[in-house]
């Protein structure tokens, strides 16, 4: 593939969308999950406004169950890139003590979807930039780049607005908001290629390393802290694993791999027969679980 010119085109489109959205918003924010797609999105935002700093804050929805390395990485980004990161946790949800191990879908509802909606309402954000891609999942492949959300942040996939050429319609009623997805048209391999080309720093968990894991039907879960409870007959073993996506650690499985740098990851990804989100338990509850979550306000 003529990789460089493709990445240039995708980058150009994404920067243009970020600027367009910013110039028509009142109170924009960039969703920052600390994952690789967020890292790419942040890099694009920096490029979009160079030589000025990024003119909007980042929003991290913290479920308190992220990988430890992700929290450390967030602090580094904050310092190094001098960006304003707003962290939001649904504390009333936290008090209910719903953990992702025994109650994964309720946990996602309350600590991710609800929390996101609360944070948007609290800060009155009108434009929310996110790093979702159409190749990730079936319902996402149907979504507009500028996605209108109704009063309670709901998405109505049956009735999306027309979106022509690159003439985005950023007009809305007061109680509506926009989710804006500048890297909609990128694929997983584009993201990796771009990280390599631009030398973007990402969390170390993406690279294969010997880690303490538990094997559940071929999916490897990291024993990240003492909250992780072993089932009967389960043993912790040291395996070389890496993660293709990052979320809450008990809900995100790694794959066995020796790919310890970007070039090796890109090479290995070409041979992998499972999709990127296959390791995300929250997608697998029901056949259309992502669509249902999106309709309720997930990004």
């Amino acid at each position: 593939l003529r990789n460089n010119s493709l990445l240039k085109e995708l980058e150009s489109e994404a920067i243009s969308i970020i600027r367009d959205g910013f110039s028509r918003s009142l109170n924009p924010v960039l969703m920052y999950s600390i994952g690789k797609d967020s890292s790419v999105l942040l890099h694009l935002a920096i490029k979009a406004f160079y030589p000025s700093p990024v003119p909007f804050p980042l929003l991290h929805i913290d479920t308190t169950w992220k990988f430890k390395e992700m929290y450390a990485f967030k602090q580094k980004v904050k310092k190094k890139l001098k960006v304003n990161i707003i962290t939001y946790t649904n504390f009333s949800g936290l008090q209910k003590k719903i953990d992702p191990i025994n109650n994964s879908s309720l946990h996602t509802d309350i600590m991710k979807t609800e929390a996101l909606k609360q944070a948007i309402d609290l800060h009155k954000f009108d434009f929310i930039f996110g790093g979702a891609r159409r190749d990730e999942e079936q319902s996402r492949s149907k979504e507009r780049i500028v996605s209108l959300r109704e009063k309670a942040h709901s998405w109505d996939p049956r009735n999306q607005r027309p979106e022509l050429w690159s003439l985005f319609n950023f007009h809305k009623n007061q109680d509506q908001t926009f989710r804006v997805f500048p890297i909609s048209n990128w694929t997983e391999s584009d993201v990796w290629g771009y990280i390599l080309k631009e030398n973007i720093k990402i969390v170390d968990l993406y690279f294969a390393k010997k880690r303490p894991v538990v094997n559940r039907d071929g999916a490897f879960f990291l024993v990240d802290d003492s909250r992780f409870t072993l089932k009967k007959n389960e043993k912790i073993s040291l395996k070389s694993v890496r993660f293709r996506t990052l979320g809450c650690y008990p809900l995100t499985a790694g794959i066995e791999s020796k790919a310890a740098n970007l070039k090796e990851i890109i090479k290995e990804n070409k041979k992998i027969i499972f999709s990127e989100r296959a390791g995300r338990l929250i997608d697998l509850d029901k056949i259309n679980s992502m669509e249902i979550k999106k309709k309720h306000g997930y990004f």
Partner: protein, 611 residues
């Protein structure tokens, strides 16, 4: 806009011609279905499938629950494939007429259109409609894929007949490349490899044909920069951010700001986190200029001022993408490149017919119509015809009330009419006139459903103002219909025109120094917004008479509600059904809670600061 390393392809055609099956088949044959996705597809095929024991590839595309349950495609699915050193982006679009707006969405960014035709059914109404949409949105190349060729037993003669028919409808359009390929998506014939069952077909298989077309060079445009955003961090120097097109523009070049035609020099160019010596084609850049001029979002910076035109009256082609329809006389928002301004549709000139031959008075275009219109813009805009520079001639029209995209369009040419009508400057001003009678002219606009009490309130208000020696005029919409609006009926487009005229007359009267009171149902937010836009700040007040429908029905002063119970065909909006509730009125009152006298006093206090 098409790119060299990505080929964007829309698949379209009538319902059940096999669009989603085709894209699913291509994904499968190019090894772009992951194992877990295939497992999911097996489950879905069992539950929703229509292909018996075979995998139903359409279910890979139809990713929404509603789509699977109804077995139809509602919205576009985007699928990304790496094949033979190219990125192919397939935009799988719906066949039902109801979702045509989504076909338009998909087509607008594609360079190749694949129209599927069922070999047994032949060309249908949707086939020709989609061909027209591809042409309209600027898709340069079209491949007709004659699908389900197995159902006519791979018969060359039957394919030949269909080919002749397709060539006939092709004749009306000037696509760059046109091909017709016999395929079977279900049985994988002529998709990624040449079919052995059709040795009579001498052309390429579908994917190879797509690659061959997509590998052609793109012509680059004249150099210009579209201004997307003016950034002024910490009140320091302004950075003009935008997209650079065409040959690189060098630092220190002289540039023309369009439409103002001001001249300046580029001082610094930034992109890719660096300071640069020149712009890059199709790349977003940030620049500083030698002197700080009035450059705003929506301006075009050009190397040569003759390459970019300016104007405010236009002839354009449009396609309607909303149930709201497009009305002559109504005011809308327009977005063309980065420029947004108000437009008024001055004329609907033509409507293209797809077989249903109902010649109607051209005051409106309905959803899915393609037509030719004329419009005036409030601001002068920099543009090019769509045929010359696509990016500077494409636009969307947005409803001012619900903010839907009502239409997509392309500018054909500017009308010179605007140059001939000069606004005469008058030496006696509005202020001179109103000072003479010692009052501040205003327009009080009473809106609400039939029977809500507009006329009664208007009367009471006028009496009060007259009593304190103010010069007033009360325009009651019903009375206007007996005179100047005698020619208008109750169709939606006539209602739009009715309010437009009342608003314009009110404006003239306010200009004369008079306090105008208007009582009109004025059911649509767009027209009320239009009325407001004619006046200055603190000159126009929208008052929503929010009387409950039950009460209006009981009163039924004009006997309209009674009549409507007998006659089902009676215009519903005459009664205020379909009335769009004002979102930001200056005042809301209800005759249920207050007397007419109290309401009139409240208006006096609030807007005239006197009683």
């Amino acid at each position: 806009m098409s790119y060299p390393s990505q080929i964007k392809i829309i698949t379209c055609g009538s319902v059940d011609d096999g669009k989603s099956t085709l894209v699913g088949r291509i994904l499968s044959e190019t090894n772009n279905i992951f194992l877990d996705q295939r497992d999911k597809l097996k489950v879905l095929s069992k539950r929703y499938g229509t292909t018996e024991d075979l995998l139903d590839y359409a279910l890979l595309m139809d990713g929404l629950q509603d789509e699977r349950e109804q077995g139809i495609t509602i919205d576009v699915a985007y699928k990304y494939i790496n094949y033979k050193n190219k990125r192919l982006v397939f935009c799988d679009s719906p066949g039902h007429n109801q979702y045509t707006k989504n076909v338009v969405t998909a087509a607008s960014n594609c360079s190749i259109g694949v129209i599927l035709v069922d070999a047994a059914k032949g060309i249908l109404e949707q086939t020709t409609r989609h061909l027209a949409i591809l042409d309209f949105t600027g898709v340069e190349n079209v491949i007709f894929a004659v699908n389900k060729i197995d159902s006519i037993k791979y018969n060359q003669g039957k394919f030949y007949d269909l080919e002749q028919n397709i060539k006939k409808i092709f004749k009306n359009y000037s696509f760059i490349y046109k091909f017709i390929i016999p395929i079977s998506a279900l049985h994988n014939e002529n998709i990624v490899k040449k079919s052995k069952k059709m040795s009579w077909y001498k052309g390429r298989n579908l994917l190879d044909q797509i690659i061959a077309i997509g590998s052609k060079d793109q012509k680059s445009s004249v150099p210009f920069i579209t201004v997307q955003h003016v950034h002024r961090p910490n009140n320091k120097k302004r950075h003009y951010m935008g997209m650079a097109r065409g040959h690189p523009i060098k630092n220190n070049s002289t540039i023309f700001v369009m439409p103002s035609k001001l001249v300046t020099k580029i001082k610094n160019i930034y992109f890719d986190n660096k300071k640069k010596n020149s712009t890059n084609n199709n790349y977003p850049i940030s620049i500083e200029t030698a002197n700080e001029l009035d450059i705003t979002k929506g301006d075009i910076l050009a190397l040569n001022k003759d390459t970019i035109e300016t104007g405010n009256c236009f002839n354009a082609s449009v396609i309607i993408t909303s149930q709201d329809n497009l009305y002559s006389g109504r005011q809308y928002l327009i977005r063309i490149h980065n420029k947004e301004t108000y437009v008024t549709i001055t004329k609907i000139k033509q409507r293209i017919d797809f077989g249903n031959n109902n010649s109607q008075k051209l005051t409106e275009l309905l959803i899915n119509d393609i037509g030719e219109i004329e419009f005036d813009t409030n601001d002068t805009i920099a543009f090019s015809s769509f045929d010359k520079i696509k990016e500077l001639g494409a636009f969307i029209i947005i409803d001012t009330g619900n903010h839907n995209v009502v239409a997509a369009g392309k500018i054909n040419f500017a009308l010179r009419r605007s140059g001939n009508v000069f606004k005469s400057t008058l030496t006696v001003s509005k202020k001179n006139r109103s000072d003479l009678i010692r009052q501040v002219p205003k327009c009080i606009w009473l809106t609400g459903i039939s029977g809500s009490g507009k006329t009664t309130i208007g009367n009471a208000l006028e009496q009060k103002l007259h009593h304190i020696k103010k010069l007033t005029y009360f325009i009651d919409a019903d009375n206007v219909r007996l005179g100047i609006n005698k020619d208008l009926g109750f169709s939606q487009s006539d209602r739009v025109e009715n309010i437009r005229r009342i608003a314009e007359i009110s404006k003239l009267m306010v200009d004369a120094g008079i306090i105008v009171i208007v009582a009109a149902i004025s059911p649509f937010a767009s027209e009320r917004n239009f009325a407001r836009s004619l006046f200055s700040n603190n000159e126009f007040y929208e008052i929503f008479i929010n009387t409950p429908m039950v009460l209006c029905k009981n009163r039924d002063i004009k006997g309209l509600y009674k009549k409507s119970n007998k006659d089902k065909n009676m215009s519903k909006i005459g009664l205020g059904l379909g009335y769009e509730i004002p979102k930001n009125p200056d005042l809301v009152v209800s005759t249920e809670q207050m007397s007419v006298e109290e309401i009139a006093e409240k208006i006096m206090r609030k807007f005239f600061s006197l009683l």
